[in-house]
């Protein structure tokens, strides 16, 4: 607004007081028609050439440049999309492979576990059998020993008693009589020990 007022005051000032101007300019030079035709001519010429050059040569180039860039960018985006998809596919494949191998590893582990367990079990059974056999054998031996033990004890008892008698009495005692007594004693007491 200020600008307008200022401009108007300046404008009217120079418009009405003609003495301010030099003689040849005569007010606003814009209103002097001396060079109007020249200006129209040169404007038409320069603007015409400018328009022709821009519309026929330069603007189509810029437009095609822009189009080309657009299409190239589009292409790149599409290529990137494709690659992204393929990489996703690869990742899926990879995951599948990993999953499969994990499963395989699990199976192998399971098989191996079973195998080893079986092995251990069979070995254990064999060992158990062996142990059982050994135990049986030992028991047999023990039984044998047990069975033979009273006889031996009796014999030892007979021998020791005969020796004792010899030393005590100083005479030979008939072995058969001693043995009869011992056997009688052992039979009587034996029931206490041989209950098993």
């Amino acid at each position: 607004m200020k600008k307008k007022v200022l401009f108007q005051s300046i404008f009217f000032y120079f418009f009405f007081i003609k003495e301010v101007f030099t003689a040849e300019s005569g007010g606003m030079p814009q209103l002097n028609p001396e060079f109007w035709i020249s200006q129209i001519f040169w404007l038409t010429l320069t603007f015409g050439i400018l328009y022709l050059a821009l519309s026929k040569l330069i603007l189509p180039k810029i437009s095609s440049n822009l189009e080309l860039r657009k299409s190239k960018i589009q292409e790149n985006i599409e290529a990137a999309e494709k690659q992204r998809k393929s990489s996703e596919q690869k990742i899926k494949e990879y995951e599948e492979i990993v999953f499969k191998s994990k499963l395989e590893a699990k199976n192998i582990l399971k098989d191996f576990k079973e195998k080893t367990l079986k092995n251990i079990n069979s070995k254990k059974q064999a060992l158990d059998k062996q142990i059982d056999e050994e135990i049986k054998k030992a028991e047999g031996e023990i039984n044998l020993l047990k069975k033979s033990a009273p006889e031996k004890i009796n014999r030892i008892a007979i021998e020791t008693s005969s020796e004792l008698l010899k030393k005590l009495i100083g005479a030979e005692v008939n072995n058969s009589s001693i043995s009869a007594i011992v056997e009688d004693l052992s039979k009587r007491n034996g029931e206490k020990y041989h209950d098993n």
Binding site: F7, I10, Q30, F35, Q39, L43, L50, Y51, L54, R69
Partner: protein
């Protein structure tokens, strides 16, 4: 007065007088700056479109940004039908812009500060738009002067106003640009004169004003070119898409 602020608008002959019949078409300082502006546009946009880099360099970016700027302006105001007129509006915008901007350089001549230049441009646009309107719509183009939804009582008045406003388009279009340019340049000259006359003591204030005005004038130079182009688009829109 030492420096008349209006002398900067004077047109003078450069070189010999050229006459065709009775018409004087001598090469003047105005013609010089028309040629300079056109050449500057052509050189810049030629450089900007020469190489087609995927990542544009500065001048290519400038050219492409201007292209998209004008193309967006047209498609926003006049729609897709205005595409054939793109190069005309582009050249018009660039020509006015470069004339305005070159006028901001000290000791240059502002082509667009002359009413005859802007009037020729505006009347060319006016005539062109009117012809396009009549070609596209025949006599139906006259419906432009009859807005829909107006009471019948008011219609004669409205039609007269519409016709006057339509006919005043070239005048308003040309005077707007010319007056803006002349006012700005005159004011800058006046403030420049104040700087000299007030001297080293009091000249600082008008000098700072001058600096601020230079910024403002550069803005105005762009804005007026933009307004000139966008009004052309709007007139074109009226002619192409008749729905008043």
């Amino acid at each position: 007065m030492a420096a008349n602020p209006m002398t900067q608008f004077e047109v003078y002959r450069i070189g010999p007088e050229i006459k065709i019949g009775t018409f004087d078409i001598s090469f003047t300082n105005a013609s010089l700056f028309m040629v300079v502006s056109s050449l500057a546009i052509l050189i810049i946009f030629n450089l900007g479109s020469k190489k087609n880099l995927i990542i544009p360099n500065k001048i290519q970016l400038l050219a492409e940004l201007s292209y998209t700027f004008v193309s967006k302006m047209i498609s926003d105001t006049a729609g897709s039908k205005a595409k054939p007129y793109f190069s005309f509006i582009f050249s018009l915008f660039m020509f006015v812009l470069f004339c305005n901007m070159l006028g901001m350089i000290p000791y240059t001549f502002t082509v667009t500060s002359h009413i005859i230049v802007t009037f020729v441009l505006a009347s060319f646009i006016f005539i062109g738009v009117t012809i396009i309107g009549f070609i596209k719509h025949g006599f139906g183009y006259l419906k432009l002067f009859v807005p829909s939804g107006v009471p019948i009582v008011l219609l004669p008045l409205i039609v007269v106003i519409e016709i006057i406003s339509y006919l005043s388009r070239p005048i308003s279009l040309s005077v707007r640009l010319f007056a803006n340019m002349m006012a700005g340049h005159t004011m800058m000259k006046v403030f420049g004169g104040f700087v000299i006359s007030l001297g080293i003591v009091g000249g600082w204030l008008p000098l700072s004003f001058s600096v601020a005005l230079t910024g403002l004038e550069i803005l105005v130079a762009f804005l007026q070119a933009y307004v000139f182009a966008i009004l052309t688009c709007i007139y074109l829109n009226d002619a192409l898409n008749l729905h008043h």
